[in-house]
């Protein structure tokens, strides 16, 4: 190789290096960037429907109003504790879990996977350079990113006006709570995607979605785990319920640093296991894909 060739190679190397560093600065080549773009696109799309989303406020208000009245009836004295919760804590607990339920619209994520597979639309999403399951997850995250803060605002207003402040609430704990809620919603979505992916094998995964939803709703959303018999509680703590809704809501009404660490650790384990399961089921299922009309 002569002097000029050497210099050409060196220049080409420099250009490639500069281009790579430039791309890295702008975020290109960073794993997960494209899922951030999907998230941003959904956000842009959903911002046009903020008014429509607000229509769901009425349903949330009715639901919460019924529970406020129910718990006011159940608590005979203001000092009484039920399963370790004061009346204010109990109502705020339900308000927070329902806020997550209404604000995340989690049933949409499982429904979308099911419809994509059974309707064949998955074929047109699979041949893009992203992972289908992460695409769905990013899309879903973009959807709840708008809805949830809206419901959180409404919950704070209803709660403050009708129930009063959460006993012992400190503003400094909000970031940790937000993190727990975020992880909880993501874990829920991952499990719902896993159930939706069963549509690769079975005609309709709706019954499984229904069972999962009702389990989460009854154990953990409407009632905290402590309400149930002591023998069942360790079992519930091993299920996604603990990380999806009970954990984050419990932290909001009764924040303890040790409990926060415990919940975050459990969420990390569940998220890793859930994602592993999701990728595994998808990899197996995609080979079974049958698309109508070719």
């Amino acid at each position: 190789m002569n002097r000029y060739e050497n210099s050409a190679v060196s220049n080409a190397g420099d250009i490639a290096k500069r281009r790579f560093l430039g791309q890295l600065r702008r975020g290109h080549g960073i794993p997960g960037r494209k899922y951030g773009v999907i998230y941003r696109s959904v956000l842009m799309e959903n911002l046009q429907y903020v008014a429509n989303m607000a229509l769901g406020f009425f349903g949330y208000f009715v639901f919460i109003y019924i529970f406020i009245k129910l718990w006011e009836y159940m608590y005979r004295t203001p000092e009484e504790l039920i399963a370790g919760y004061s009346k204010e804590q109990m109502i705020w607990y339900v308000m927070m879990t329902e806020m997550m339920w209404f604000g995340s619209n989690a049933s949409a994520v499982g429904w979308q996977v099911k419809t994509d597979i059974r309707g064949g639309n998955i074929a047109y999403l699979m041949n893009k350079p992203y992972h289908y399951t992460l695409y769905i997850l990013a899309k879903y995250t973009g959807e709840w990113s708008i809805r949830l803060p809206m419901y959180a605002g409404l919950a704070v207003v209803i709660g403050t006006v009708m129930v009063g402040a959460i006993p012992g609430f400190r503003l400094i704990t909000v970031p940790a709570m937000a993190l727990c809620i975020m992880f909880g919603l993501t874990i829920n979505a991952v499990f719902k995607i896993c159930i939706g992916l069963l549509s690769f094998w079975i005609e309709d995964a709706t019954p499984f979605q229904w069972l999962y939803d009702k389990l989460i709703l009854v154990v953990g959303t409407i009632f905290p785990i402590e309400i149930f018999p002591g023998a069942l509680q360790p079992f519930f703590k091993l299920t996604p319920i603990y990380t999806v809704c009970y954990g984050p809501a419990k932290l909001i009404v009764d924040f303890q640093p040790a409990k926060c660490v415990e919940i975050l650790a459990a969420q990390a384990v569940y998220l890793a296991a859930g994602c592993g399961l999701m990728f595994f089921v998808y990899r197996k299922g995609v080979k079974k894909l049958y698309v109508n009309g070719g």
Binding site: G22, Q23, R26, H28, G29, R33, K34, V37, I38, S41, M44, E45, Q48, N121, A123, Y124, M126, N127, K128, P129, Y130, H131, V286, K287, L289, Y290, V291, G293, G294
Partner: protein, 337 residues
């Protein structure tokens, strides 16, 4: 170099069968019955880089299944597929960077976003740097004349505008192979022609390999130099367009207007398709009778006007569709004698 190589490709679907009525429904629960449908059976072909190929067939022939196997969406039961040297089943995502797909009946654009935001989205998905992306959007928008509506939400665009945007979204990463599945479905003739011109231009300028399926004979005739016809999961014809048109077009349509009504000749090779007063429409099989001889059979002195044309390509394709295998295709379209 071959952009696509397919050898003995096979795909079978297992579908549920149910007898009619409530009894059938209950029986299907207790003893589910399935049936194997052979969608693609032993298909082999190759496509050269920069080639424009029409891959056509009647509904249910297996063409969409083949496209889906070529793009890595479906897993073949047997055989081998290579697109740009990549096995789509093993490296689907790697292949996705090199190919583009347009499915005329499906939307890939985000309908609530503008075409510009959509192009930015697809550019990011394909890891295109920002400056490069802007450059490409500008270039494609000019070429496809999108400036008027590039900032209008996709849901407000006409079908023709949307399809143009769909194609641009598929080209943003400059794919080497473009799969087009009925790209002009539902479009008016002017927009169809516009889309065809753009596809031709893209093929000429970027040497993009075009793999087209369409039921529109205009798309096939005006774009492709080679045609593969599949039927019942098998290739029944693989030929050049030129060969198909000029070798197999052994039938001519002769339309004549006589000065007065006359009896038409009853000669082998001449079929009277329609006669109404002094107007007549004849089909002349040039394999059986020379066109000159056929014309001599008609009373030329009594003739006021004449028009000789080929049998439309659509009719030839229809005959091929009716045939079940290569032998039947040959018999259906080969010249007599």
């Amino acid at each position: 170099m071959q952009a696509i190589r397919v050898e003995a490709l096979t795909k079978t679907f297992r579908v549920r069968r149910k007898e009619k009525g409530m009894r059938g429904s209950i029986k299907a629960i207790l003893r589910p019955q399935t049936e194997e449908i052979r969608a693609v059976h032993g298909v082999s072909f190759g496509v050269e880089e920069g080639e424009m190929l029409a891959f056509i067939g009647p509904n249910g022939a297996g063409k969409s299944t083949t496209i889906k196997m070529l793009t890595g969406i479906l897993y073949p039961d047997g055989g081998r597929v290579e697109v740009l040297g990549i096995d789509p089943t093993k490296k689907r995502r790697q292949l996705a960077y090199q190919i583009g797909t347009v499915f005329g009946q499906k939307e890939q654009l985000w309908t609530h976003l503008t075409p510009y935001d959509n192009f930015r989205f697809f550019g990011a998905i394909y890891d295109i740097p920002d400056e490069e992306m802007e450059h490409r959007i500008g270039e494609l928008a000019e070429r496809f004349e999108l400036h008027e509506f590039i900032n209008t939400p996709v849901r407000n665009l006409s079908l023709g505008q949307r399809i143009r945007c769909e194609i641009v979204a598929s080209l943003i990463h400059r794919p080497k192979v473009l799969f087009l599945d009925e790209p002009t479905i539902g479009l008016d003739p002017v927009v169809k022609e516009q889309i065809r011109n753009l596809i031709r231009q893209m093929n000429r300028e970027y040497n993009t390999t075009i793999f087209l399926t369409s039921h529109d004979v205009g798309d096939i005739e005006k774009l492709c130099k080679r045609i593969i016809i599949v039927n019942d999961g098998q290739i029944v014809l693989d030929d050049s367009m030129e060969h198909l048109k000029y070798h197999y077009l052994h039938k001519k349509i002769v339309e004549v207007k006589m000065q007065e009504e006359t009896a038409l000749p009853q000669v082998a090779g001449i079929t009277v398709l329609k006669q109404k007063g002094s107007h007549a429409r004849l089909e002349v099989d040039t394999g059986a009778v020379e066109i000159g001889d056929a014309l001599r059979q008609i009373n030329v002195e009594n003739m006021e006007d004449i028009n000789i044309s080929n049998v439309p390509l659509e009719n030839i394709i229809m005959e091929i569709y009716r045939a079940k295998d290569r032998q039947q295709v040959k018999a259906a379209i080969a010249p007599v004698g």
